[in-house]
Amino acid sequence: MQPHIQITRVSKVYSSAERNVAALDDINLNIAPGEFICLLGPSGCGKSTLLNAVAGFSLPTSGSILVDTRPVQQPGPDRGMVFQEYALFPWMTVEKNIAFGLEIKNAPRAQIKEKVDALLRMLNLYDFRERYPKDLSGGMRQRVAIARVLALDSPIMLMDEPFGALDSLTRRNLQDELLRIWMEFKKTIIFVTHSIEESIYLADRIVVMTYRPGKIKKDVSVVIPRPRDPSSAEFNDLKKELALLVMEEQDRHLRDEIKEPSAD
């Protein structure tokens, strides 16, 4: 099958006056339609860099990223992004935030309303539709951010540590909701996290990255049937395996920080 997202020999170097940072090095990754991928790795290993390259915010220094066989050149609504900082527009109500992408597309009013209402109901936001983001909890804001992307009908969802700032209960809640949405709408998802447990709970495949330069250390398929039980033996076996991999990179990160304390 033709991969939905095809990442070939992608490297990214951030150059500044003082030094060059090799954030990504020779990344190769094929993602099938409808696949749920987690990018896992310690802070600074280039997860956001890779996601931003797929989103089209900052293009790789070399290599190619194809989406549906077309090279990524700029951001677009076919690859909806959910940011860790929510990035809701504070001057728009919940409803307006969700409708914004559709208004940009010049969708007919009635259609916008129908779609927004359906999303509000699906994500339990209906009673909050006239509120401004400042009056919402973190979990609620992230629901709005997810609804905003869903409104676009983008086949691909890119999520950069979307639940990183949430408490564990809200987090589990939103993870379940995300899985439901993913199954219902058959999205291709790239989900960045540094939580091992979160990656096992969600992903079809976990891509573990190395720290500087960011390479793919291991590509692990998760075969545990859903819904996954974090207390099960197979879950914990995988967790141990991944923890070892991530710890090695974490250690390199720490050594790096001691060598040059101003690294990040």
Binding site: A55, F57, Q74, P75, G76, P77, R79, G80, M81, F83, E85, A87, L88, F89, P90, W91, M92, T93, F100, G101, I104, K105, Y132, P133, K134, R148, L152
Partner: protein, 277 residues
């Protein structure tokens, strides 16, 4: 406490305490014949003068004008209206020039580099220093006064608009680009609203400056308005009218600021921390 309204009332009274004590001292001082009433008139005299200044000058005559028109025909009302009119007109013209220029300078580095040196050069000149030039250019009357007010309002709005656009959080830009926003949509629906807190701060400072400038301009270029009136009163040694005029200026300033505050809260109801103040 058992009666919360009583507490509220007491708090209100507390705020009146200092003004009332000062007022009493002032009244006592002027009743002692220590100071010449022409230097410091009694508060009661000021109040009487203020009332006279406020009241219509002629008796009500239905044949000449309607009741409302008559009611608002006092000298103070006409002066306040004249001053307010100048402030508003000057402010609007200043804002209409500063806003587009500020938005363009904030959004485009090229335009910024083009205009910034000139602006840095002109900005430190106090609007008051433009008085001679404005009279030379526009003669006497409203035009020079409004010219000065335009200058007073222009720079604060311009500087804040530039800062507002430049400080738009890049996360909003990225989110909007991700949703497929065009340049125009980005500008109108993201950059402009994101910059409004700054722009409104600029507008508020701008109105404040315009209000200072209008009083000065009226002392020099025109023959009505609150600024003109207190200078005129000095020529006749009407100290009670000077002070009554000053209080009127204070009240008008307070009203303008309250209006701006209200506009601010209305336009920024989405903004963090508005409820608090």
């Amino acid at each position: 406490m058992k009666y919360p309204w009583l507490k509220k009332f007491a708090e209100k009274l507390q705020g009146l305490l200092v003004p009332l004590v000062l007022l009493a001292m002032w009244q006592w001082l002027s009743s002692q014949a220590i100071v010449n009433p022409q230097i410091l008139p009694a508060p009661t005299a000021v109040l009487a003068k203020w009332w006279e200044y406020l009241s219509p000058q002629e008796a009500y005559d239905p044949a000449k004008a309607g009741y409302l028109a008559w009611l608002f025909s006092g000298e103070l009302i006409r002066d306040a209206y004249a001053s307010l009119y100048r402030v508003m007109l000057g402010f609007m013209i200043g804002a209409a020039m500063a806003l587009p220029l500020g938005l363009m300078m904030g959004a485009s580095d090229r335009i910024y580099k083009l205009f910034n040196p000139l602006i840095q050069l002109l900005r430190p000149i106090p609007p008051i220093a433009f008085i001679p030039l404005s009279i030379l250019w526009f003669g006497l009357g409203n035009p020079p006064a409004i010219f000065l007010i335009v200058i007073g309002a222009f720079f604060p709005i311009l500087m804040n608009t530039i800062a507002g656009v430049r400080n738009v959080d890049s996360i909003y830009i990225r989110a909007a680009r991700n949703l497929g926003a065009s340049q125009t949509t980005m500008f109108l629906r993201v950059i402009l609203p994101a910059a409004t807190p700054y722009i409104l701060t600029g507008a508020r400072i701008g109105v404040g400056t315009a209000f200072i400038v209008v009083i000065v301009a009226e002392m020099i270029a025109v023959n009505n308005g609150l600024g003109y009136r207190i200078l005129e009163a000095r020529e006749f040694f009407w100290s009670d009218k000077i002070i009554a005029g000053m209080f009127s200026i204070g009240l008008l300033g307070l009203a303008i600021d309250t209006g701006m505050n209200w506009l601010n809260n209305y336009l920024l109801k989405w903004h963090r921390g508005i409820e608090g103040n």
